[in-house]
Assembly symmetry: C2
Homo-oligomer: 168 residues x 2
């Protein structure tokens, strides 16, 4: 289950990468600097767009690392441009692409902790279901909503990406 869902997250980061292109095109059409998007917020005390993208990337990267017992690559949150956000997203897509099903054997019973939990721990199964997966979608969807709110023409197909449909 963990590998399958991480693969779905990888797919959706690929969609996010395309939303950045739509944002760039929209800015070009309207003659404004696309990098303005990085500072936009839906509420003054919510993360800005750049940090929503960084947080979606981190939720997926850290889940893959923690559930497989690896040290995650460091990605300092220094992105200042859409191009740098593209690079961040693509680094995480490449990182996720390096895993296989067997890397997550025993993931459910790993003991997971983060600096924010003040010494408490979660099982790998609970951490993934209750924390990593909802957080990933939270930040991914906020990134989408911020672009839509600010005029970028995106639709549900841009969110979901291609579906594995076939004739009956």
């Amino acid at each position: 289950m963990h590998y399958e869902i991480l693969s779905q997250m990888k797919k959706m980061l690929g969609q996010l990468d395309k939303w950045l292109d739509h944002a760039t095109s929209y800015a070009k059409e309207r003659s404004f600097d696309a990098n303005v998007f990085l500072g936009l917020r839906l509420a003054p005390d919510q993360f800005a767009f750049a940090r929503q993208v960084q947080s979606a990337c981190d939720a997926a990267k850290l889940a893959a690392a923690r559930l497989s017992g690896q040290d995650p690559p460091a990605h300092p949150d220094t992105e200042q441009t859409i191009d740098e956000l593209h690079a961040r997203v693509r680094k995480v897509i490449a990182y996720l692409g390096g895993f296989s099903q067997k890397d997550f054997e025993g993931a459910a019973t790993r003991v997971i902790s983060t600096p924010r939990w003040e010494g408490k721990v979660m099982s790998g199964a609970d951490y993934f279901l209750e924390h990593a997966m909802p957080n990933f979608f939270f930040h991914l969807t906020h990134a989408y909503a911020l672009l839509r709110h600010n005029g970028v023409p995106l639709g549900k197909k841009d969110y979901l990406g291609p579906l594995s449909q076939h004739a009956r």
Copy 2:
């Protein structure tokens, strides 16, 4: 996996139920009609708040029904008030609470179709991962973002709910 994630969706619908209470309290403090929230949108061509809530409910309900081979209960989208949205959310929480792990044996290989797919089908596994789960979080997070954007004081703890943490 399907049962575990549907159980997590049930938990998160319980959080959504609480967000509605926060919206009601906020409206009372500011002396406006809380039912105004139902018509608010982040973009003029996105679903309004009521339909985001209805769509999150439907994504979870339809996934549970389709993956277990049941007919889903009909919930016409007629809600006009916060109280009616509470009732809708609680009906879906109760519906999801009626399932057990064994209801989803064989779910991955079921053939799933919806009227919108024009005759095409997906496997249960693909439908859940690529469609039902991302759609659930999409609409749930839009409901959250709409409330936050309009001043309702919510934070990440309200989104995630209680975590299964314990001492090491």
